[in-house]
Subunit: 368 residues, 2 copies
């Protein structure tokens, strides 16, 4: 479709994902691109120039570093709002993981600015914020919100679920391995045999490879999975009997942190003390293996039974969660009325800057 | 996003997929729906009423049957063209598998009408028609073409590939089981053991279950797979060194029809004579099994080596094509630069009226 329309793009957050996103965006051949990158905001600097957009992948970093302007989101809101018109769209890309930025989504969307983001906070936090966002997007001149990259990064998960729901399919259950970190840990730890590496050593190696957060408890608490489940559950809620989740804290989340290691301040101390609990995890592995099963940390949105839960579950060694997973893959199964006997499955890397930025850019392309 | 915009919808083809599509479309709550279903065309009748849209899932069939109007696509083209305006979109849904209807896409798209279809003919036939379609969609007031349901029915395959390409990922190889019929036949026939049911009996049962065309040679010739590969390859072509396919006939397709059974006029005779070739297929199965492999009829778009092929290939019994497939599932793996070590995988039912109609309706929702 030929589009004479202009789409102004403002980016908040220029870390790993943000930088990769900028590079992908600027790689689109200018002739085919309706996008004009007019603003960057980091934690310390900001740039805004809507008459002379940023086009150089090699100089935006130094241009931003040279700016004397401080980050000022209220001012940015005014500047962007003034650009919204019937022939000009404005997209704000939030590449942070900040609650403060997320709290501004209703303001932006009400002003006609579309918000595109991999930031899970707004969609998995307090339901009041989420409902404000949805309400703002339904106003006559409201912007849209697009959040494909909040679950599974670039994998087609949120969009697939929205299509299923919008076309009238009935979701029965969504079940998956939603954390790349948890995927890696249990793909290594539990392969169906009674023995294997110690749990603590798998976690230590995962941390050394950069697959975990600096403090592994931030992965093992299951909150990342609970947030993703909240996003999916809320997408389904209005079309089902699933109760609305007040926040991700309402997900039944079975943390893997041993109670004795709760609240340990540093990742180093946590990893040093984890071996004391190896026997506990080894016993679970042996019990699963005796039943021909493996352990996987999964998330489940069980629509039929009105339950959303995250935790360690057992799967037969013939199940795709056992046979098909490897590395730090995500896998998501949609059990629906139309995909009845056999689920719709999406699988692949669910984390990393390149694929996350791709999910964000895919959403931006949908605006065009 | 609140949309004051009207989208007029005209449907050509009201068979299994067409009927299911109409029912899904009319199930969208009217308050949320920008869609106005204004025209139906079957092989013998047509209806057009843009001031009084069709809203009843229970009466459209009898209304169409009672119409005295014959199908008249040139007249429909004029009627629809007159409705295109900056605030009104028009979508033509082609739910036929007709080459004649496909030949009209450039006319429609040039007139600003968007074409949405599961019909593979236009996108996998002569490249001249395909290029006319692409060119028409790039004119200033051209309509769009959306063809998610041409590959994998409702599975997110075409859209995922378009997103990968549009965001700058490099496609290395696309590899998959693209035919539900072929999937069923080989999931039953080749499970990794040296023995198993006779090939002819698997085909006969598949035919009895309605999984094959009335004449199984229409599946076993591999043309359905070749057409799907052509659609995917053309989506990749402009972003790679892959040579343009003049038509699906340019795909290297290894037919499963024994040469002696080529041109047999009826499916009944074909199935009756197939047992004479059981030993041939059994020997291939035994040879694969001896190497720890299974047989699968796959399609491959090998971008790196500039090759597009369809045929029987061997996969280890630990490969997802062996472990993860069942029923008549499709499975598609995207090997790309970003999904490097491990591919992005989409799997699920790739045929059937409900999921095909869903793929079409998902595309229509993208117009809104």
């Amino acid at each position: 479709m030929a589009s004479p329309q202009k789409i102004y793009v403002a980016i908040v957050g220029v870390g790993l994902v943000g930088s990769e996103f900028i590079n992908q965006l600027l790689s689109i051949p200018p002739l085919n691109s309706p996008f004009h990158l007019i603003s960057l905001t980091s934690t310390t600097r900001s740039l805004f120039n809507h008459t002379n957009p940023i086009t150089s992948a090699s100089s935006w970093k130094s241009d931003l570093a040279a700016s004397v302007d401080r980050p000022d989101l209220p001012k940015l809101t005014k500047q962007l709002s003034a650009l919204v018109s019937p022939t000009q769209k404005v997209a704000l890309i939030d590449n942070t993981s900040s609650e403060d930025v997320a709290a501004l989504y209703p303001t932006w969307i009400s002003a006609g600015i579309s918000v595109i983001t991999p930031n899970k906070k707004a969609f998995s936090g307090d339901i009041a914020l989420y409902e404000q966002i949805v309400a703002a997007s339904k106003t006559v001149n409201g912007g849209r919100f697009l959040n494909e990259a909040t679950v599974g990064a670039g994998l087609p998960v949120v969009g697939t679920l929205k299509d299923l729901v919008a076309t009238g399919d009935k979701i029965v259950k969504i079940e998956g391995v939603f954390s790349g970190t948890m995927s890696y840990i249990f793909n290594e730890f539990s392969t169906g045999t009674p023995d294997g590496p110690a749990f603590s050593s798998v976690v230590r190696i995962a941390r050394e490879k950069g697959y975990t957060e600096p403090h592994p408890a931030d992965d093992l608490n299951g909150f990342d999975v609970a947030r993703k489940l909240t996003i999916l559950a809320r997408t389904v809620t209005h079309a089902s009997a699933l109760p609305a989740l007040q926040s991700f804290a309402a997900v039944q989340t079975a943390s893997l942190i041993p109670p004795e290691l709760e609240g340990i301040p540093t990742g180093d101390e946590f990893v040093a003390r984890l071996p004391a609990f190896d026997a506990h995890f080894a016993a679970m592995r042996a019990a699963a293996s005796a039943e021909g099963q493996v352990l996987r940390f999964v998330g489940v949105v069980d629509v039929q039974n009105g339950q959303v839960r995250a935790g360690l579950e057992k799967y037969p060694t013939t199940h795709p969660f056992a046979t098909s997973l490897g590395g730090s893959d995500n896998i998501i199964m949609f059990h629906t009325e139309r995909y009845g006997a056999r689920p719709l499955i999406v699988q692949g890397a669910g984390a990393g800057a390149a694929v996350t930025a791709m999910g964000v850019l895919g959403d931006l392309l949908k605006l065009a």
